[in-house]
């Protein structure tokens, strides 16, 4: 929906021959020549995945900002000791529930610990829970999905039925069972989230494999005697990659949100360490008296998840051929 004026201004640069006379014709105008095609006329070479990845951000400012936000989060959380103004565990009971000030930018919790520092350290756990279970479950899901899709038959049936069961099982409850059995902690969250998430990945990868299996190049590869597992590695995996990247950007924020639910059930991060989810839950009763310490971790989650989602959208728009402009 741009203005009309802008449209009409477009003109094509050709050099039309005058309709009459011959004076304009150059002397050697009729000499036969052989014109080579200009370089631009050639088809652009296939972009590597990395180039594709970068091209996402060239034209999409929102995606670029999201990426910067995510990187910033990661840098700050990984380098927490450098950025945190205080020791996140240092208590000062006299500062309990202190309001934001120049000393404590976001105020203090009830034990007088600096909320900003706790958020910076807590982000480590939130980010780790976002990243690691996602990577593990997606790797597992990809392997099983490819196996199911490619081997087919009974193997396919068994894997997919197990996936059905996993997807049907209430994930929070599963986390509770795991946590009560082996005790709460990072490993628990890790196992519970991995267990639930692999099934979704496996399903998507499997259907991708099924459709790819019919494609010419895979058939061709099979017909010239290339081994099955080589086909999988060489052809199917790179082709599933766009889908996987999109799923990755969806699962990471999903897990960060789930972590806040787990904290609500008391099986998230373990004190005295904290995570954003736990901070939101722990500070809820101060909403009236010291709203900053309740709002800040919630907003931190919100911004990070929004950034991941924007990034995911941008990646999907770029990588999903169905959405690309012709």
């Amino acid at each position: 929906m741009f203005g009309k004026k802008k449209l009409a201004a477009a003109a094509v640069t050709t050099n039309p021959a005058p309709a009459e006379g011959t004076a304009w014709i150059p002397a050697d105008g009729l000499e036969p020549i052989h014109v080579e095609e200009s370089a631009e006329a050639e088809i652009a070479p296939n972009q590597t995945l990395w180039e594709q990845f970068w091209s996402i951000f060239k034209h999409n400012k929102v995606a670029l900002i999201s990426l910067i936000v995510i990187i910033l989060y990661i840098v700050v959380c990984v380098g927490a000791p450098l950025f945190a103004p205080y020791d996140p565990l240092a208590q000062d009971l006299s500062q309990g529930l202190a309001k934001p000030s120049t000393e404590h930018l976001l105020g203090c919790d009830k034990l007088g610990r600096d909320v900003l520092s706790r958020m910076i350290y807590g982000g480590r756990i939130s980010l780790m829970i976002g990243l690691f279970p996602t990577l593990v479950s997606m790797t597992l899901g990809t392997i099983l999905g490819i196996t199911a899709g490619f081997v087919g038959g009974k193997v396919d049936m068994i894997i997919m039925r197990i996936a059905d069961i996993c997807m049907a099982f209430p994930s929070l409850l599963l986390a509770m069972v795991v946590s009560y059995t082996i005790g709460p902690g990072f490993l628990t969250i890790f196992l519970a989230l991995s267990f639930v998430n692999w099934a979704g990945t496996a399903r998507v990868v499997r259907s991708e494999v099924l459709s790819l299996r019919e494609k010419e190049y895979v058939e061709a590869a099979t017909s010239i005697g290339v081994k099955r597992w080589k086909i999988m590695l060489r052809h199917i995996l790179p082709n599933c990659l766009p889908t996987l990247i999109v799923m990755l950007t969806n699962n990471i924020p999903g897990n960060i949100l789930t972590e806040s639910s787990l904290s609500f059930l008391g099986i998230g991060a373990q004190p005295p360490m904290t995570s954003w989810g736990l901070m939101v839950y722990q500070t809820k009763s101060y909403l009236d008296r010291n709203p900053t310490i309740t709002l800040a971790p919630g907003i931190a989650i919100l911004i990070l998840v929004v950034a991941f989602n924007f990034l995911g959208d941008a990646v999907r728009d770029k990588l999903d051929p169905r959405l690309q402009e012709q």
Partner: protein, 329 residues
């Protein structure tokens, strides 16, 4: 008496992409008379379909007609409101597409889809519309039309689906039917049947036809008059007979020569070297010069006009311009 149905004058259609303005159609003049079948030939990407879509006013963002006029029975379609265009589309001008597999909506029965066209333009009841639809099914040779009325597109073969498309296009007796590569996706045996059907419908209803194709064989079989398009411009136009007898433009010549003939034995098939140029960076002179075997220096400097060489035969090539050709002697 003016029996001109469609007159396109200086049509310019451009696409405003992020990489620049793509002149998909760059000043095209086409005239179609009542009952006439006009061929529009060229390689893919040369602007044939865009010309058709411009006529239908179905260009999608970021495409837009920027100049020219499209006169249907003397009325400029470019001045019509979207609402008025809706009354024209499917009623005055209809169109059939290349892909019969995907051109029908998979979730509706074919009967419903044909009825929809009828009811859009004719004030008839459902029952009447159904009668009309079944009637047209009979005429386009769909076996068991009453039963097929309730079939879904995926239950029909490609040929039958294209017949349904033709039926849908003809059901309102349009003055002009644009066929965009109607047979490209079909088997050769089916192709002949479909072309025959189009011809028959054309004769029966007196409908003018624009046949868009890259296949000169189709043109030979079904058209009266031909426009050869290249990179958004008409390169040559003439009657079918003339084109086949006296192809003048090197491009036309090339197209003709790339059809395998049973009468000649060749080691390899003739091809036009190179590819359709990128419309964003057209050569300075003649847009075909990069691929032309007969290119001259002048061709890289100036773009030739469409020169009339008699009998309505027009060619956009300096070779056809006596003045120019003689200047060098």
């Amino acid at each position: 008496m003016d029996d001109t149905i469609l007159k396109i004058r200086g049509l310019k259609t451009q696409f405003f992409t992020s990489k620049g303005v793509v002149p998909a159609v760059d000043g095209v003049d086409i005239t179609v008379r009542a009952g006439e079948a006009v061929g529009l030939v060229g390689e893919s990407g040369c602007g044939k379909s865009m010309t058709a879509m411009s006529v239908m006013q179905l260009l999608q963002h970021p495409g837009r007609v920027v100049d020219g006029e499209i006169l249907l029975k003397g009325e400029n379609l470019l001045k019509k409101t979207p609402r008025q265009m809706c009354d024209i589309r499917g009623n005055e001008i209809s169109m059939i597409f290349q892909e019969p597999m995907t051109s029908l909506n998979p979730v509706y029965t074919i009967g419903k889809q044909v009825m929809e066209a009828v009811r859009q333009h004719q004030n008839v009841s459902k029952e009447e519309a159904k009668k009309i639809a079944i009637d047209i099914f009979k005429r386009i040779g769909i076996p068991e039309p009453e039963k097929r009325f309730y079939s879904y597109p995926h239950q029909l073969s490609g040929g039958l689906r294209q017949r349904v498309m033709i039926g849908m296009a003809m059901v309102c007796n349009p003055a002009l039917m644009i066929c965009d590569e109607p047979t490209t996706a079909l088997d050769v045996t089916i192709e002949a049947q479909i072309l025959y059907l189009i011809k028959e419908m054309q004769k029966e209803k007196g409908t003018a036809v624009i046949m868009i194709t890259h296949n000169l064989g189709v043109v030979a079989e079904s058209c009266d008059y031909v426009y050869v398009m290249y990179a958004g411009k008409i390169m040559e136009e003439a009657s079918v007979f003339e084109i086949f007898e006296h192809p003048t433009h090197p491009y036309t010549y090339g197209l003709l020569n790339s059809i395998p003939k049973t009468t000649e034995v060749k080691d390899h098939l003739f091809t036009i070297r190179g590819l359709v140029p990128n419309l964003l960076s057209l050569p300075k002179g003649c847009r075909f010069c990069t691929r032309c075997d007969k290119a001259m220096k002048i061709c890289t400097e100036y773009e030739p006009d469409l020169y009339d060489i008699g009998d309505g035969h027009k060619v956009r090539c300096f070779l056809a311009n006596k003045e120019v050709m003689e200047s060098g002697k």
